[in-house]
Symmetry: C2
Amino acid sequence: MSNSDPQHSPRIPHIAPVPLDKAYRLLNHGPTVLVSAEHAGQHNVMAASWACALDFAPPKVTVVLDKATRTRELVEASGEFALQLPTLPMAAMTVALGTDSAKTHPHKLQQHGVELFHAPGHATPLVQGCAAWLLCRVIPEPHNQQTYDLFIGEVVAAWADERVFRHGHWEFDTAPDALRTLHYVAGGQFYATGASVTV
Amino acid sequence: MSNSDPQHSPRIPHIAPVPLDKAYRLLNHGPTVLVSAEHAGQHNVMAASWACALDFAPPKVTVVLDKATRTRELVEASGEFALQLPTLPMAAMTVALGTDSAKTHPHKLQQHGVELFHAPGHATPLVQGCAAWLLCRVIPEPHNQQTYDLFIGEVVAAWADERVFRHGHWEFDTAPDALRTLHYVAGGQFYATGASVTV
């Protein structure tokens, strides 16, 4: 059984639900995300820098999904996707998932060590090792999708690693550095989420 | 002459043009922005966390502008806005510009020490002290604007502080910390852009 088989669901010890009215905070600092999707027994994961909060309640998000991607096909077919925030040790995996297409690299998840799990009742797989996860239902907007590759989703469930997001707040400064999230620029270069600044 | 009068245009020593094909990199790491706009001699500036790159070439962006804001009215009237990236010393100003509305605080720019300047040939004012600036023309999408408060803009000119963005790359690690950009979460709390990670 491969690591990327979503039926292989090891214990995920640190995941805790995030109330939907706090879900926007998971994306508010502008992290790079992984986008996962599933349809008819097929699943995939890609990286995306262009994901953003869109509304507080109900929480909504935008994400740009290029027409060339396998993940987009699965999102369009299933009407669902998950956004999740890769952590510092996942930087190389994130670049690989944003570079290799499942269309040319059908085993890309296994090759890059992606381990998936499922939230009960949801077919869309989630990626282990992330700092937070947002399960979203597509709000169909065909013009945006066709013209701008822009998808709008309503967040229907959210979770975070409770070591780094607690009581509705990120705690990057006191959590292990390995739980910092990533902000991609270009050419394999990211910035980690940095020091807290409170005014 | 007040600090926020855009006719008061002091020397901006470190600003350099950014080629349009590199403009997406100014937003790719997900920073919080200030949104400025001008129409018929009126101008304003607000803060926004929900701004995102949308395309590479021509570069496009999305930004969420609440219907209650004065800045949105100016954007709708003029068809133009600027996004700019406030730096670490501007954290308190950024929170204030996102909290106080010009409708109830008509002198909010002066009160919070906002100093504006103009790029030649552009009416939309830019905010001094930022790390980068993107001048955008609205691509009218009335359904998105009305339903989601979501505006799409095409970037028509971009600049950055050459001490921190050079040759198409951010250089946060070697620039003064005061030039780090900000990632807002909630409740007056930001994270600064952190350490560079290259894979």
